[in-house]
């Protein structure tokens, strides 16, 4: 039963993928971002690989239209690396959903990714994935309360509003700050 069901699910998820991705071009044309037929096909295939890799099943159109909607106004997205960046973000998204043990909603994860993609990652998807998303999911697994978890609590306690994603995630910073001594030392070494 298990294998047959999985095959059916996979078949189901492959449907309409490409058309949906191409339909997003209308939304992103104002920002000069377009996907070609080949890009859409590659992203649809990458979606299957990402879902299989993270051990997930998805119905309907998947997260990509929402991912595009969330990221399309980022100043760091460029047409020449658009499809490639989307592929990386999509894979990271599914991976994080599983690593966060289902404690994050799609919206929370997308908001976090979008916010940190711009600053401090400056459009570097690999930096976002290897550093910030890794820290974020680790924190969530250790009991970090996401804004939606705060909201659920507030319903009962009627306490003050929940923090924004950035306020809540402020503690994710692990690097030490700017060291003037180290800077001088480096300058001396260069001389």
């Amino acid at each position: 039963m298990e294998k047959k069901f999985m095959a059916m699910m996979l078949q189901e998820t492959q449907r309409k993928d490409r058309e949906q991705l191409l339909a997003c071009n209308q939304m992103t044309q104002d920002w000069g971002l377009q996907l070609t037929e080949e890009d859409a096909a590659a992203l649809a295939a990458a979606r299957q690989t990402a879902l299989e890799g993270s051990g997930r099943i998805e119905f309907d159109g998947g997260i990509m239209p929402e991912l595009i909607r969330t990221f399309c106004d980022s100043p760091y997205l460029q047409q020449d690396s658009y499809a490639q960046t989307l592929e990386l973000l999509q894979e990271a998204f599914y991976q994080c959903k599983s690593e966060a043990m289902e404690l994050l909603t799609d919206r929370e994860l997308l908001d976090f990714m979008r916010e940190y993609f711009d600053d401090p990652c400056r459009g570097d998807a690999e930096y976002l994935i290897s550093t910030w998303l890794d820290r974020f999911t680790r924190a969530v697994r250790r009991g970090f309360q996401t804004p939606s978890a705060y909201s659920r609590r507030d319903e009962y306690t009627l306490s003050a509003g929940c923090p924004t994603c950035r306020e809540a995630c402020g503690s994710l910073q692990e690097e030490e700050g700017w060291s003037y001594e180290l800077f001088l030392q480096t300058l001396e070494n260069m001389e």
Binding site: M1, E2, K4, F5, M6, M8, M9, E12, L51, G55, R56, I57, E58, F59, D60, G61, G62, I63, E66, Y94, K97, S98, E102, T105, D106, R107, S148
Partner: protein, 268 residues
């Protein structure tokens, strides 16, 4: 297949409350099994389900879900009835299963997202095999068996039951075994030894008489003798007798082995 997948899709959306487009494979499988379980109870074969395009599948599913909820209520009332006059004779497996486990089942059973899961390990062993049943079906069948067992146990005063169990094994409280089976063994042993009191332990002579009779009868005939003892028990209906008859082959085999190895005193 389309209709079945639509049901699974809608159930997944309800499961995630629309906050996640994807779920782990295990969750998707659990939800698909939930749909299969409900439709299976309505007479739909798995193969037929995966190939059907019948549009009324959702109505069948909703009806099946309603039936499950009705059966949960039926199980609750059966359980309440049993607990009004419940005796475990101090046996921890029975006590924990009924007094601690069952209320948790009613508290946590999920008729929508995991109706196929019966949640409990049901540690206390009953005479009937229920491995082929799932979810609420298994719980209802288990409670019906417990109901029959309780009726049987109430034929004797609790003090006498405890006496019989203590003679069988002084640590009967912590052992995992079927209570009526031990009481029935003792009844059959009394019949074979020709003694009248269930409470009294057997002496050596009585064991020798028993061994001799068991050798004479053989396993087949012995089973019939034990069965007759069950049938003669007063205050029992056909349901009770059919249920207790499930213990007879085991008791007969045990007695034959005990007589062959001269160790009946460790059994009754």
């Amino acid at each position: 297949m389309d209709e079945f997948m639509n049901l699974v899709r809608r159930l997944t959306q309800r499961y995630t409350a629309g906050e996640s487009t994807s779920v782990p494979e295990e969750t998707a499988l659990q939800l698909a099994e939930a749909v299969l379980f409900i439709l299976g109870r309505q007479g739909w074969e798995q193969e037929a389900l995966l190939s059907t395009k019948e549009a009324r599948l959702e109505a069948v599913y909703e009806e099946g879900k309603g039936q499950i909820l009705a059966e949960v209520r039926q199980a609750q009332s059966l359980y309440s009835g049993i607990m009004e006059n419940f005796t475990s004779c101090g046996n921890l497996a029975l006590e924990d299963t009924m007094q601690k486990g069952m209320p948790q089942f009613f508290l946590r059973y999920d008729a929508e997202f995991a109706p196929q899961d019966h949640l409990l390990t049901l540690d206390y062993p009953i005479l009937e095999h229920l491995e082929h049943l799932q979810g609420i079906d298994r719980i209802i069948a288990y409670l019906r068996c417990i109901r029959l067992e309780q009726d049987f146990l109430h034929l004797l005063p609790e003090r006498d039951l405890i006496q019989i169990l203590r003679q069988w094994n002084p640590s009967f409280r912590t052992h995992i075994f079927n209570l009526p089976q031990i009481v029935l063994s003792k009844t059959a042993a009394c019949l074979l030894a020709g003694t009248g009191s269930l409470r009294k332990p057997f002496d050596r002579t009585e064991y020798e008489v028993m061994e001799e009779r068991i050798r004479q009868l053989g396993q087949q005939n012995l089973g019939e003798v034990v069965m007759k003892a069950v049938e003669k028990l007063p205050g029992l209906k056909a349901d009770h007798r059919d249920y207790l008859a499930l213990a007879v082959p085991g008791i007969a085999a045990e007695f034959v082995t005990g007589a062959e190895n001269r160790c009946l005193e460790r059994m009754v």
